[in-house]
Amino acid sequence: MRWIASRMWTFVARRLLTAAIVVFGVVTTIFVLARLTGDPVSLMIQPGMGEKDIAELRASLGLDRSIAEQYFRFLGQAIQGDFGRSPWQLTSAFGLVVERIPATLLLTATALGFSLLVALVVGGLSALFRDSLLDRAAMALVLIGQSIPSFWLGLMLILLMAVELHLLPSAGYGGWAHLVLPAFTLGLFSLARLTRLIRSELLDVLSREYVTTARSKGLPEGLVLRRHALRNIVVPIVTVLAVDFGLLMGGAVIVETVFAWPGIGRLMIQAIGQRDFPIIQAGVFMIAMLVVGINLLADLLYAWLDPRIRYS
């Protein structure tokens, strides 16, 4: 037993190391790319400012130093969780990002949770009643769901549910009603993908001998499904959920723009437009940490969900 545990810790250590390298790579990339978008000082010059004022402004933002110096200073501070002050909002960039993260996480978590729930029901029924009318309708809807661009879907939902029917608010942040349209818009693609996955995985599992055995010894169908079928499709579902979490964090940028949702995505778009380097860097760091963290978690979950999986 002990050598299995130690092998797991080696695996965790190795994965943590690669995760750190990946986050470092992401942060370095965005540091370079942000600086290529242009000079933030040129956006901040106000009428009446002389050469000296401009030079002072530049110095106060630390932009008068060489790129290498800026980079190492940035790395040194970032390790301590300090991403500098936003030159526009005049407060800690990391603080601003942390402030916005809950809204984005609420949106992505709701979207993923809702998608998983519906996908389990629809995908499950589709597999159990293969080739029935329900199955065919579900599969047609899945294809359509995978083909609707989120930003357009968002607009159409606003048009229908808010402008025409006055059922739901068209934009903004507040109670549950505000969450419905953005979460559905963001989650539809995952919903379609998960439904398809759950259907095909279930069909595969249900044709296995151990399911036939379970059925033939007279177990109720519900028990067969829970104990024998669902248990064996959890791993691929977790894999797709982890990947989709990353995709949804990206998709949230667009959905937040459409629905004026005060999450990290909108903050980032604004920051890129203003060349607000500290916010851009802090935001990308935060998203990369979340995405890498969730995938690491998924990797560790596998062994717990399926004891046959061993780390190597």
Binding site: T18, I21, V22, V23, G25, V26, T29, I30, L33, A34, L36, T37, G38, L143, I144, Q146, S147, I148, P149, S150, F151, W152, L155, M156, I158, L159, V163, S200, P236, G246, M249, G250, G251, V253, I254, T257, G265, M268, I269, I272, G273, I280, G283, V284, I287, A288, V291, V292
Partner: protein, 293 residues
């Protein structure tokens, strides 16, 4: 092998059908795709109006249906014809999608081949690069690069290539890892084939099926990404008519003129849907095992 497949189809369907016979949803999808290509090529001749030139007097005209000088799908705030815009937008969508898939496919394949064949450090570096890109929110990477390069057709294509090459690199790398020690590849090395020859003549041709499948499904993705970037105002310049800019234009007029955003979006959805259906069809024929790619 091919004969065997044919027989099994015959046994199932009763009639003699080639496995490449196209019917059902795939046939409809193919029809839609052909119409799209016709629209893209023939846009200047098929459009009733110049999509960039509107009469301000015709501003926000509701869809008028067919008729001489009628605005089939209405006009936008500047009086520009939406239907003509959709026809011209088809060109942008197709050009962007095909060019970016070709570019990213070429680069990704080359990188994937090198990583999978040489393994070691090359592979380690390439895979970390791929990891970095996967952890990087695509849309933020794309927006940042668009801000650096500026809006425009070529730049959109460049951004899509930069952001999507890992897709192909991963697939080709996995195939190459599988093939590099296969007997026929070892045999080719033993008889003295050079490295380049082994990679291009022996490994690559056997990795081409998953590549085709990935590329097919990437086409609608690229169409959506271009529209998304243009929608956000960082893709095609506002003066160029693309489906994304049309949808963005209509956004401010949702409550007065629903048609501006609605119809270009339907065109976009039908296009993506039809290529997705064709992709499914193609994959099932080439290799159904690639379903989870």
């Amino acid at each position: 092998m091919r004969g065997l497949t044919r027989v099994s189809v015959t046994a199932e369907g009763g009639t003699r059908r080639s496995r490449w016979a196209i019917h059902g949803p795939a046939a409809v999808a193919f029809g839609v795709f052909v119409l799209l290509v016709i629209a893209a090529i023939g846009a200047p001749w098929l459009s009733p109006f110049d999509p960039r030139d509107g009469r301000i007097l015709d501003s926000l005209t509701a869809p008028e249906g067919l008729g001489a000088n009628a605005h089939l799908l209405g006009t936008d705030a500047l009086g520009r014809d939406v239907w003509s815009g959709i026809l011209h937008g088809a060109r942008i969508s197709l050009v962007v999608a095909l060019a970016s898939v070709a570019g990213a496919g070429l680069i990704g394949t080359a990188i994937g081949l090198l990583a999978g064949y040489f393994r070691g450090w090359t592979d380690e570096i390439v895979m970390r690069l791929v990891d970095v890109q996967m952890a990087f929110p695509f849309i933020i990477l794309a927006i940042t690069i668009m801000f650096i390069l500026g809006r425009g057709l070529t730049n959109v294509i460049v951004v899509l290539i930069v952001t999507s090459w890992p897709l192909y690199a991963r697939v080709i790398r996995a195939e190459t890892l599988r093939l590099r020690d296969a007997e026929f590849v070892v045999a080719a090395r033993v008889v003295g084939c050079g490295t380049a020859r082994v990679m291009l003549r022996h490994v690559l041709p056997n990795a081409v099926t998953p590549l085709i499948v990935v590329a097919t499904f990437a086409v609608p993705q690229m169409i959506i990404f271009e529209a998304g970037l243009s929608f956000l105002g960082v893709g095609m310049p506002a003066a160029v008519v693309s489906w994304g800019t049309l949808i963005a234009d209509g956004r401010s007029y949702l409550d007065q003129a629903w048609w501006i955003s609605t119809f270009p979006g339907i065109a976009l959805m039908l296009t993506v849907l039809s290529i997705n259906i064709l992709g499914d069809w193609l994959r099932d024929r080439l290799d159904p095992r690639l379903r989870n790619l």
